[in-house]
Amino acid sequence: MAELAKTDLANLIREECNPPMLEGDMSYHDITEQISSLTEWKKTPRAWWVMISITGTLLLLLFACLTYLVARGIGVWGNNSPAGWAWDITNFVWWIGIGHAGTLISAILFLLRQKWRTAINRAAEAMTIFAVACAAIFPLFHTGRPWRAIYWLFPIPNTYLHMWQNYRSPLEWDVFAVSTYGTVSVLFWYTGLIPDLAVLRDRSKPGLRKIIYGALSLGWRGGSTHWKHYEKAYMILAGISTPLVLSVHTIVSFDFAVSVIPGWHTTVFPPYFVGGAVFSGFAMVMTLLLLTRWLLKLENIITIRHLDLMNKVILATGTIVGYSYATEFYIAWYSGDPYERFTFFNRITGPYWWAWWTMTICNCVIPQFFWVKKMRRNIAVMFIISITTNIGMWFERFVIIVLSLHRDFLPSSWGMFHPTWIDIGTYLGTFGLFLTLYLLFTKFCPIIAIGEVKSTLSAQNHVEHVYQHYLATHEVEAQSPHA
């Protein structure tokens, strides 16, 4: 009896400390082969070409819409008075939020020693960078003259403004938050890429490809001195990215919370925005990974187990978001402020009732299916839920921005917002930018962190070794690792 309990304990420890994350018997060389061969053109799946032609077309739509906007002015968007911020800022907040999952996976899960992140962190980090690029387009073009915006946004000495930015304004804080976030994400991503670019360099035959990967990998040679400083740099980057990612959506939420508009002026915004950002970001990572995994046949590395764990994060953050909605409503009622109460009542029953209901159903109700293990492990279900979550989170930002602005204190200034074709085209166009960049990334970079997956495999082998040794010395039968 005592013997049985000991075996159970050994199994439990193995499952908990180091669940098998790679399926099939893989060697280090197999990992190198599988991942780096994805960057070789002759093995490009046909579906990749089909996808990039679609996303490339959408990217052209983005160029067309932005060119038209610059030529005619931002009046081509549907923004009006009272809805001075509309789809542009909705899209901005939505895209920035999506980026947050990448940093969460690469930094916070690293600090929490969650080994399973190694299969998905590279793709998620890339997604962060591309999402921030999409996000930056909206406020930049909302200035109307993006080529001059650099002088308005950053303290760069110049001869025509003769003044400095207003550092008391949350909008200026946001400039620093988003640009720092974008820059640090690129640095973190590149730091992670250096040893893997060296893998591609070493595999390439002499020629242009070898020169390019050789230059990008900076002469990395994998010596123990290299690794020592590298590991330190990686840990520091993870350590500073963690508060950074929390600060970015906090500061984005200040854009609203520091104002006096009913529906915006609330102290719950920072945690509420961060929770929502992680929620939407994980959903987008899920959408992309399911496609990537299918397109590039990575089922053995990005396993159902990874997806299950991600779905748990979606469930947890979705529930946080639902709780935030409830808090917001309760405070609106408890404040006794008639304008505040009206704003929230108007969200449910006003002319935009459908937006509020879409948001609530997509964000609070649908992810609750993930309480059921079968749902968390069903590809079709998780794909659908990842899409509905993305839709729901877009509507959340729309509800916060447009529904708060369209009816504020004075009924005489109430109005409605109607998107124009340029609004719609620009938004669709950013998908073109995002997905085109992502598809190019899958072709030019190792989309799985090769070195980190190998170190996960090493740990997995080590634990397996200890386990087998335990079984041998205790004369009990082994259990299947996937039991």
Binding site: S169, L187, G222, G223, W227, I236, I240, L244
Partner: protein, 182 residues
């Protein structure tokens, strides 16, 4: 064959081990023979290898700390100078300078400078980018990034003698032992 000494323009004697455990077991044996200038070459960072090699932990953290401190204080100084000295303008009845409204940008600049400090600091300490390194003269150097676990006894070791090093590496179980030129 002339006896190879450290004046012969050598980099190291390098041998390959079949996995990380073999490498970790071999290092203490080599160190017990008195060699100190050792460098392991591996496809990923191996947990606990620094302790086995007896190297001190990285000091990169201090450099990054200074970068962060600089970013943070530079941001505060600039916000004070721009808002209260260079172009004092009262907006929304707020003071010309206050610590509270400077916190977000101070924080962001601290992170930004720390991030640059980590990457550039790491590259600097590791002397990267580097166009040439002798380890690539090893015939199996391309496997370092794949599945090769190499150990090099460098020629700068005071006890270095090519033939003896080759024998020492072979004795602890290394394959493909070679003396690599600079």
């Amino acid at each position: 064959m002339p006896k190879l000494t450290k004046d012969n323009g050598l980099y190291a004697a390098i041998g390959e081990f079949s996995d990380e455990n073999q490498l970790l077991e071999a290092i203490p044996k080599i160190r017990r023979l008195g060699y100190s200038k050792l460098e392991a070459y591996t496809p990923f960072a191996i947990h606990g290898i620094d302790e086995v090699l007896g190297v001190k932990p990285s000091k990169l953290g201090w450099f990054v700390f200074c970068c962060g401190l600089f970013g943070c204080s530079a941001a505060a100084t600039f916000i004070w100078w721009a808002g209260a000295v260079s172009y004092p303008l009262i907006v929304g009845g707020k003071p010309l300078f206050a610590f509270t409204f400077s916190i977000p940008i101070m924080f962001e600049m601290m992170i930004l400078f720390s991030a640059f400090g980590s990457l550039y600091g790491m590259l600097g300490i590791n002397r990267l980018p580097q166009l040439y390194h002798s380890v690539f003269n090893y015939s199996r150097a391309e496997r370092i990034s794949d599945d090769g676990f190499m150990l090099a006894i460098e020629a700068s070791d005071p006890q270095f003698d090519a033939d003896e090093c080759v024998r020492a590496l072979e004795d602890v179980g290394a394959n493909f032992v070679e003396v690599v030129a600079k």
